[in-house]
Amino acid sequence: MEQAVKIDMIDGSKSFGEKNVLKKINLTIEKGQFVAIIGKSGSGKSTLLRLVADLENLTSGELLFNNTPLKESKVNITMMYQDSRLLPWKKIIDNVGLGLDGQWKDKAAGVLDSVGLLGYKDEWPSTLSGGQKQRVALARALIHEPSLLMLDEPLSALDAFTRLEMQNLIEEIWQNNGFTALLVTHDVREAIRLADRIVLIEEGQIAMDIVIDAPRPRHFSENNLALLEEQVLERIMYGEVQERMKKIK
């Protein structure tokens, strides 16, 4: 496995026309760290993810991967989206091997096995459930042996049970492979379960940055995690209360 990547964003700003979506963000993510980015819709958290994934370019500021500018670094980034984005016209195994050359079939079968879907390798994606499709998307992301795995609300469309299963799977795979992981989510509990660190984005700025060092696997009845969840939620909501107060005045 390729070495995990260290990410530095220095004074990173992004605007679309007149709208400043991100304002001078300074953020360092250590090698192998699992960081959750939370925030309300429109806070700029997805833009931050897309910048790091090289799907958007910074308006100003710098983005470094292992101390080299993003465009020059040869870092292997893969991504899981909210929808699985499997190609419906390719069999499962061919979806996993997308973009690979040479002898990849055995490797693809191995990765499919690790997400528990080897038996489905010759099926069409349309025959799979939502959770199974996301497992395939995870396999497709893993086969490239990423140094950085981006997770853009990958579990938000799944039912509660499947979501728990997937959280366990993602945690296990991250622990075994040691890549850097960046998770964007609405779900505070999910962030606390999975992440080493939670970054809250509000109006294009980092509003909170906390480290969670509770041992894994995490249980909400231990280490005051339930209390932490409540505090984080309160912090997010408190901001909103302030906003409303301002408007009333």
């Binding site: 991504m79 069409w124 349309s126 497709r140």
Partner: protein, 257 residues
């Protein structure tokens, strides 16, 4: 089992009723048989033309015009659709012109085509080319433009570029729409051919019908019309077969038709 047998039979009930009624009415000789031949006499003249080999000459001539015209027009339409679907520059350059030409009813060009190209094969094929080009162009273009941008972004993330991206994402995504264009174009192809074959010629189903008109052979005129209908249905079946094979990943094509 009985259900499938019944379902297979179902589409044929109405044609069979029409045939029976037609035969009965013709046998009553309300209208003189030379104007209103019975299905049997159409069948007999069909058989005679088959035995003499004439039918194959004419059907062959029409088929070759259809196929050549469809291939040339289809390829041009496909190529233009792909180009304009992929490139905004190409789209801005050529789409307006293509749309202007598309809005001319191509059959209205018949007199001009005769003057310019004469009355030989090229005139007929040219009309077919013109007829099939636009449905394939429009549907290919929209197919490419409507490929889910999320899939394209995903493909780029997995290092697919240029030809690989086209082959893995864009073309298969556009294929359902392209097939709609092909099936529509097949209809236009036969329609154009029927009109084009009224240009004086010595071979083809159109010639068979025109010639029969001169001699008041109503049965052969009707035979020609039926042959057009059968060929049209056959072409559509072949297109449908290709569609089902190429789109078998798509759940809505998976059911037996």
């Amino acid at each position: 089992m009985r259900k499938t047998w019944f379902n297979r039979f179902l589409p044929w009930i109405i044609p069979i009723i029409i045939l029976v009624v037609w035969q009965v009415v013709a046998a009553l000789e309300i209208v003189t048989p030379s104007l209103f031949p019975s299905p049997l006499s159409v069948l007999v003249s069909g058989w005679q033309l088959t035995v003499s080999g004439e039918l194959f000459t004419h059907v062959g001539a029409s088929l070759s015009r259809a196929v050549i015209g469809m291939l040339i027009g289809g390829l041009i339409g496909f190529a233009l659709g792909i180009m304009n679907g992929l490139s905004d520059t190409s789209y801005r350059l050529s789409d307006t012109t293509i749309q202007m030409i598309r809005n001319i009813p191509h059959l209205a060009l018949l007199p001009l085509v005769i003057v310019w190209l004469g009355i030989d094969e090229s005139a007929k094929i040219f009309l077919v080319v013109l007829g099939v080009l636009f449905p394939i162009y429009v549907n290919t273009f929209h197919g490419i433009r409507n490929v889910d941008p999320g899939l394209v972004e995903m493909g780029r993330m997995y290092k697919l570029k240029g030809w690989k991206l086209f082959k893995a994402v864009l073309l298969p995504g556009a294929l359902p729409s392209i097939f709609v264009g092909v099936r529509y174009a097949l209809g236009v192809m036969w329609l154009t051919l029927i009109v084009a074959e009224t240009i004086p010629t010595e071979q083809g189903i159109g010639y068979l019908a025109t010639n029969a008109r001169e001699f008041m052979q109503t049965d052969i005129i009707i035979l020609s019309i039926i042959i057009y209908a059968l060929l049209g249905k056959l072409a559509d079946l072949i297109a449908q077969f290709g569609e089902n094979r190429a789109l078998k990943w798509n759940a809505s094509y998976n059911k037996e038709l």
